[in-house]
């Protein structure tokens, strides 16, 4: 019996140890965000000697992070809305409707999963330059929406397939058209999958950096990651401001995660098993 107690103690020690590793950069992010300019230059310990909110407030207002925050909110919100509308309709069609080319189209969307992002990035930028939307928020939202297609179509089609077909037949007989059936029967039943798709879209979009960086040139359109990048491109980065800005980016995502944890977990496990 004592053997199993030692084992349990060891398990807890290991778990606590890795928890520290997992939190390590976040601890220093918070610490740095509460230090003033002098203290950050001196280095120093994890606990700030004279913790101050001034760095955070000046990053938020003087360094325009409030504006970047609104831009990020706009881009992320539009992307999530676009993904939910466009691919939910399409997945309903893939799951229950019959139309020519259904299987081929479905697999075309899913096979996009194998095309590396870097392969698409350059042609997207070239195309947007032609269309005149490079550097606009629309120019970010369209490729972001398209980029989520494979996973989203997989997840939503599976969730619509799980709805019993009798429900549709019954609604049909009551004279409901497909749009009506989709809105009032299928959508409510597949709501958890939609929340999962929303969170799995929102988080990477909020953090997106590669396309934003090469397309956004007007500072008034910067999203948070690009605002953060502009802080560090100066010769001597002020790490207290950089950490404050990082904290501003990370906090909303962490809050979202804490509230909607089970949707993240179900979504990831479902996506990888599918």
């Amino acid at each position: 019996m004592s053997g199993s107690r030692t084992a349990r103690l060891l398990a807890y020690a290991g778990l606590a140890g890795y928890a520290l590793v997992s939190l390590y950069p976040f601890l220093w992010m918070v610490s740095g965000a509460f230090k003033d300019r002098l203290e950050i230059l001196r280095g120093g310990g994890l606990i700030p000697e004279a913790p101050t909110l001034a760095t955070l407030t000046s990053t938020w207002s003087r360094l325009h992070f409030f504006d970047y925050f609104l831009n990020s909110l706009k881009v992320t919100g539009l992307t999530v809305a676009g993904v939910l509308v466009v691919y939910s309709l399409a997945s309903y069609a893939f799951a229950v409707l019959d139309f020519p080319g259904r299987r081929a189209l479905f697999w075309m969307f899913v096979s996009l999963l194998f095309v590396p992002g870097i392969t698409m990035l350059l042609p997207v930028v070239v195309l947007e330059k032609h269309l005149g939307i490079l550097g606009t928020h629309l120019g970010l939202v369209l490729p972001f929406v398209n980029g989520t297609a494979p996973l989203t179509v997989l997840l939503l089609t599976n969730s619509f397939r799980a709805v019993p077909g009798e429900l549709r037949d019954a609604a049909r007989c009551d004279g409901a058209g497909d749009l009506r059936i989709y809105l009032s029967v299928y959508l409510p039943l597949a709501r958890p999958a939609h929340v999962t798709v929303a969170v799995l879209t929102a988080v990477p979009t909020w953090n997106e950096y590669l396309l934003s960086r090469v397309s956004l040139s007007d500072p008034s359109r910067y999203t948070l990651p690009i605002g953060l990048e502009s802080l560090i491109s100066s010769e001597v980065p002020r790490y207290n401001e950089v950490m404050a800005a990082s904290l501003i980016i990370v906090l909303p995502v962490v809050a979202l995660f804490l509230f909607l944890q089970r949707y993240f977990v179900n979504g990831l496990v479902g996506a990888l098993k599918g």
Binding site: R8, A11, Y12, L15, Y18, L23, Y24, P25, F26, W28, M29, G32, L46, V85, V86, Y87, L89, A90, A93, L97, D98, F99, P100, L105, F114, V115, P116, I118, T119, M120, L121, L122, P123, V126, L127, L142, P143, V145, N146, A149, V153, R172, C173, D174, D178, N207, E208, L210, P225, E229, I232, M243, I249, V254, L256, F257, L258, V265, V269, L272
Partner: protein
């Protein structure tokens, strides 16, 4: 209600039997539902893929009105014909290969014990799981800057090493500034960010295992580590395969950590293939490297596809 639906149904079938008109309308409905997705896909997917593929057979700098067609020259230049480019590619490919092997191995080595421990404890499991998951949800430039901050010459990692008497391991130029520690450090950061999903997958796999199996083995006199090795590990093999596959894909596709933390430096000592393609795409000013960038992108695609197929074949053989 049921009477009504029954009556409706008979009426509908009677009407529907009359012809294909209804089938046509249902087909049109289907097309209408997928139309927005397909339109976006044609614009952002098909068009970009086709034009990217075409561009890989041309020379262009992004500004001149015309592309100069060069056939497969870009591919040959990258693979061997151009000594400078081919050497750059080979070095980046070597680093990519190291990442591709080291990250999945270390991830499995950390995530599996973590999941087993997590599965064995009753209390605090939810708390630990939440904490472990943070690196995944926050993946991105903010966290990479936090890592840069702690890895600075006067950063927290050096501080910790000096304080614990391991000062000889400290890096006076910073872990990212030293050519011999930059790549290993980035591998550690990559492992740190891929452990969450792997742990979660293993945990869900462990919870799906019939608890009678390990118990029966234990009753037959098997020690816990033997149970882990001969019962649990084989049952988790599909999950391990998924984790390895994800790791390989990320190693080929992902380069954000490298771009944000070292830009491939110092002196190219942490350059990887994705980053090289990004550099050829966007950092070369007026030089005609866009065709090369496209060609490299397609080489990466081919490599990823090949590895996926080999992996699937191996998996089938194992099963």
């Amino acid at each position: 209600m049921s009477v009504l639906t029954l009556r409706e149904r008979t009426r509908k079938t009677a009407a529907g039997a009359s012809g294909g008109a209804r089938r046509w309308s249902s087909r049109l409905t289907g097309v209408a539902f997928v139309l927005p997705a397909v339109a976006l896909f044609l614009l952002m997917g098909v068009y970009t893929i086709a034009s990217g593929l075409a561009l890989s057979f041309a020379k262009w700098n992004g500004f001149t009105p015309r592309w100069i067609w060069v056939g497969v020259r870009n591919y040959l230049d990258l693979l061997y014909a151009d000594p400078v480019l081919a050497a750059e590619l080979r070095r980046a490919a070597g680093h990519t290969l190291q990442v591709m092997v080291a990250v999945p191995l270390l991830t499995v080595a950390i995530a599996l014990p973590l999941a087993v421990a997590l599965n064995s404890v009753g209390r605090l499991r939810a708390v630990f799981r939440t904490v472990y998951f943070l690196p995944y949800v926050t993946t991105g430039i903010a966290v990479y800057f936090a890592w840069r901050y702690v890895l600075e010459p006067d950063g927290a990692v050096n501080l910790l090493l000096r304080a614990t008497g391991l000062g000889s391991l400290a890096q006076p130029q910073g872990f990212l500034g030293n050519p011999s520690t930059a790549l290993p450090t980035l591998i550690v950061v990559l492992v740190w960010s891929s452990v969450p999903v792997a742990t979660l997958l293993y945990l869900s796999g462990l919870q799906a295992i019939d608890p009678n199996l390990p118990e029966a083995a234990q009753l037959d006199g098997a020690a816990p580590r033997h149970v882990l090795r001969h019962v649990t590990w084989p049952l988790l093999r599909p999950i391990t395969a998924a984790i390895v596959l994800l790791g390989i894909r990320d190693a080929l596709h992902g380069f954000q950590v490298f771009l944000v933390m070292t830009r491939g430096g110092p002196g190219g000592h942490s350059d990887v293939l994705g980053l090289m393609a990004y550099r050829l795409s966007f950092f070369k000013g007026l030089a005609q490297t866009l065709g090369l960038a496209s060609a490299l992108g397609w080489l990466l695609f081919a490599a990823a596809l090949l590895l996926t197929l080999v992996n699937a074949r191996l998996l089938r053989a194992v099963r």
